[in-house]
């Protein structure tokens, strides 16, 4: 029963810290900034803990605030996506090697080059596996806009990935 559910801050941190951090990291491409955003998001959660009605509500709320804060941070710092993925490759060198495709981290680099609305839609689609309707609710955006952003973003990403693959192949 939703009304029997009591928010447990520490439990929510355990369950969702990776999600929040990862959303912020893919949106900003900056690990340090992503940590700051994650701390801000959970600080905000602590303040509003009494208003969280259920576990699903907590997850929904955290995604929304993480994306929102990331977008705010991007606007403030006007981060250029391409130049910041070096940090990810250095910090996550082991993780990158474990991925199936050599394009794994490269896709993340390419993701950072997309416009912010498309990036947000794609991250929520492929990291969180949300449906377009759920993405629209999270971003508080019209469903048509979300679908458009998903389509355009995917197309752009795919095109950039194809170019990179060709360059990769030539480099062997």
């Amino acid at each position: 029963m939703a009304h029997d559910w009591q928010p447990d801050y520490e439990q929510l941190v355990d369950e969702h810290q990776s999600m929040v951090f990862s959303l912020a990291l893919r949106m900003t491409g900056d690990r340090g900034l992503a940590e700051e955003i994650a701390q801000d998001v959970f600080l905000e959660l602590d303040k509003r803990l009494g208003k969280i009605e259920s576990a699903a509500h907590a997850c929904f709320w955290l995604r929304r605030v993480a994306i929102s804060r990331s977008a705010d941070a991007l606007r403030r710092r006007k981060v250029r996506g391409m130049s910041l993925w070096v940090t990810i490759e250095e910090d996550h060198g082991v993780a990158a090697e474990e991925r199936d495709s050599p394009l794994g981290t490269r896709l993340e680099e390419l993701l950072a080059t997309l416009p912010e609305p498309q990036r947000a839609a794609l991250v929520l689609r492929y990291q969180e596996e949300l449906t377009p309707e759920e993405i629209a609710a999270t971003l508080e955006a019209p469903l048509a806009t979300v679908k458009s952003n998903l389509q355009r973003g995917l197309k752009l990403l795919r095109a950039k990935a194809a170019n990179h693959l060709q360059e990769y192949v030539r480099g062997i």
């Binding site: 810290q17 990776s18 940590e35 701390q39 959970f42 991925r99 199936d100 492929y126 990291q127």
Partner: protein
């Protein structure tokens, strides 16, 4: 340009966009910050009117302490001055008494000499 099938690309994206693990000490920092927030008075969580009232009370207390201190110092100065004044009066009375006696003695000696 040759694109791979969308289904394949779609799967690649899903695999690539797995969640990154949070920094190892993120939770520790979050819990530490939370603990400190709980210990600290949540000043800005108070209603504005309450904050104004508390601020005015604090200001009044500081002013009262200052005024009290100044007033106490002035009272002490007055007390010391009054004490000195009383001492001066006593000294002058004693002096006056001594001079009176001296004059009487001198006058008596003068009369005795004249006789």
């Amino acid at each position: 340009m040759e694109f791979e099938p969308m289904e394949d690309f779609d799967q690649k994206l899903k695999r690539s966009f797995e969640r990154w693990p949070a920094p190892p000490d993120l939770k520790r920092r979050l819990m530490e910050n939370r603990r400190r927030r709980k210990e600290r008075p949540q000043w800005f969580a108070l209603p504005f009117a309450v904050r104004v009232a508390v601020s005015l009370c604090l200001l009044a207390g500081v002013l009262a302490a200052l005024y009290g201190g100044i007033a106490a110092n002035q009272a002490e100065q007055r007390r010391k001055g009054e004490e000195a004044r009383q001492q001066v009066l006593l000294a002058l009375r004693i002096t006056n008494h001594a001079l009176d006696h001296m004059n009487r003695q001198l006058a008596a000696h003068n009369r005795a000499h004249q006789e």
